[in-house]
Symmetry: C2
Subunit: 341 residues, 2 copies
């Protein structure tokens, strides 16, 4: 009788395997393929249901982050931003959010209130309606925390589907890698330092102008949350039948994050960002998109790699190292950081 392990929730290989075994393998084709849209046949940040000339874009995520308050944000901000970003990543304009809260008897109402306020603040700033919700209470001793699950609804006239990456596409990242993961890791370890602050924030001000201006040129978009950049790029390469080459010299990772990861034995490419996106952009527009990102305030944005024809003998994602070598960047596996989001 097999048991769930923490690795099943880390967003790496074990999570994919569990979802395949539990869900994807059990669904008949029609239940996962939304003809003309995007369903679970090609898992992406959101799903797209065709309607009229466009799409309803929708997503759901459960947030279990611990601690619930952390430098740079809290559970409520994370839930709102995470859902908004998943809609944006498919090329959608977020319109409405729904939330379901599960708490334990004895939960401090002031804490709950701060978390909910924080969620509402993000939605208010982004002009997104809160259209529905639920709240459940478990008896004392049955739940250690506050859980929030948020679902989002957006609309799109055209969607950005990650399987459309083509050889030659440039891989752009909008900011520093692993900032959310490092902040949570530091908080979980009781490390008090101003160096670590989650990047959690909605990417609306970046993505809406890019979607507007470059919809056909952006072939993929993903916020590298659980599983980090390594998981996102492995998913991309696998789904699009390409190989992705990354230049280590170009990766924007702050020194304190590198050091913390080294100390904890995790790879910064495996831990989450919550306010940063990866884009795959057609080569003729990559510089222009990058410029626009800088103008929009994402000054650390840079090209970190490119997609190539897949060569069967090497891995899906290859990291060209600083010393001129190359190593295969495997999708993450094992426990990584529990309750990172």
């Amino acid at each position: 009788m097999s048991k769930i392990s923490l690795a099943h929730g880390s967003g790496g290989i074990e999570t994919s395997q569990l979802l395949t075994r539990l869900i994807l393998n059990r669904l008949p084709e029609w239940m996962k393929s939304l003809r003309g849209g995007l369903g679970l046949d090609f898992p992406d940040d959101s799903a797209a249901i065709p309607i009229g000339e466009g799409y309803i874009v929708t997503t759901i995520d459960a947030y279990t982050v611990s601690p619930i308050f952390f430098p740079g944000g809290d559970l409520g901000k994370l839930a709102a931003a995470g859902t908004i970003n998943d809609i944006l990543m498919l090329g959608g304009r977020p319109v409405a959010v729904l939330d379901a809260i599960v708490i334990e008897e004895g939960t401090n109402i002031d804490d709950l209130s701060r978390i909910v306020d924080s969620m509402i603040s993000v939605l208010r700033e982004e002009k997104i309606c809160l259209v529905g919700g639920d709240i459940k209470v478990m008896p004392r001793g049955q739940l250690d925390s506050i859980l929030i699950t948020t679902a989002g609804i957006g609309v799109a006239s055209r969607i950005i589907v990650d399987k459309n990456i083509r050889p030659g596409d440039k891989i752009i990242i909008s900011g520093y890698i692993g900032e959310h993961g490092a902040a949570i890791l530091a908080a979980q370890q009781g490390i008090k330092s101003d160096e670590f602050k989650s990047d959690v924030s909605p990417l609306t001000k970046l993505m809406l102008p890019l979607i507007e201006g470059y919809a056909g040129d952006i072939h993929a978009a993903r916020d590298p949350t659980r599983g980090g950049v390594a998981m996102a790029l492995n998913d991309w390469a696998r789904g699009s039948q390409t190989m992705i080459v990354l230049y280590e010299s170009e990766l924007p990772i702050r020194e304190p994050v590198v050091n913390l990861c080294e100390m904890m034995g995790v790879d910064p490419l495996n831990i989450a960002s919550e306010g940063t996106t990866l884009l795959a952009v057609s080569p003729d527009k990559a510089e222009e998109v990058l410029c626009r990102m800088h103008e929009l305030g994402y000054r650390e944005a840079r090209i970190i790699g490119e997609a190539r024809e897949r060569a069967s003998s090497v891995g899906l994602v290859v990291l060209k190292t600083l010393i001129g070598g190359a190593r295969i960047l495997e999708p993450p596996s094992g426990e990584l950081v529990p309750r990172i989001c």
Copy 2:
């Protein structure tokens, strides 16, 4: 510093008060009113977002039922049916469901698998796509159970909004009252008896033909889940500015359910149904709708009361008792049955 109590999750007065304090009072008007649609300004089973000539209907619910396997169903069936029913209750045709699962390290994968299979079976039978999902794992000792949150998406050309009940409308119930609540109560108490079986099931085969045939005549629809018939009717009366009169002699409650409730000190009108609906129907069509319900296989359906002009001196919901008296049916308060859904 106030604390969450079990009563906050029972779906009665305390739940409403908590949601008002935490969420409704904090939202600016534009965030809850979907002009031309239905948002949190008039909480109903689902929300309706206007799009083109119609609506996107959407809902979210967290399911925490204990035990996760119970006579008549399990957590997975409950989550799927509950979400489908919430879409139907607003006049929507369910199209897609998303799920977010939270489990603990050490959870038995076979149990999880049975639950997920059960959810998928309901969706498959109802021809609804599963378009997205999430899974999170909490470390051992932090969560007592399997939690599933499901969100649903439907489409409607016309919506059934409970505030539209008018004096004269007949109140119809589609089947026996309190069957789900009694089954959970019995299971929680370790009572083994064939008498108690949850009614959990999707109401699609009832509601889609009724929506098709009588959309303008059905002024309200609600499945009386948490808080039961008492909460649903109090919400209806308050929202529609009417008074609702119920005839005790007409209430379909099975004897074993009455006896169990008496033993446990709960009112059967306060406990959940999960496959039964209340309808408010214009008086000239009520008999016809009732006949159609019988034809559709809901043979216990009957008229149990009516809406009247509100008289300020009496309560919102009045129960005409068997012995000819009248008592005010208050919305439920207190702990009721924890983790009923």
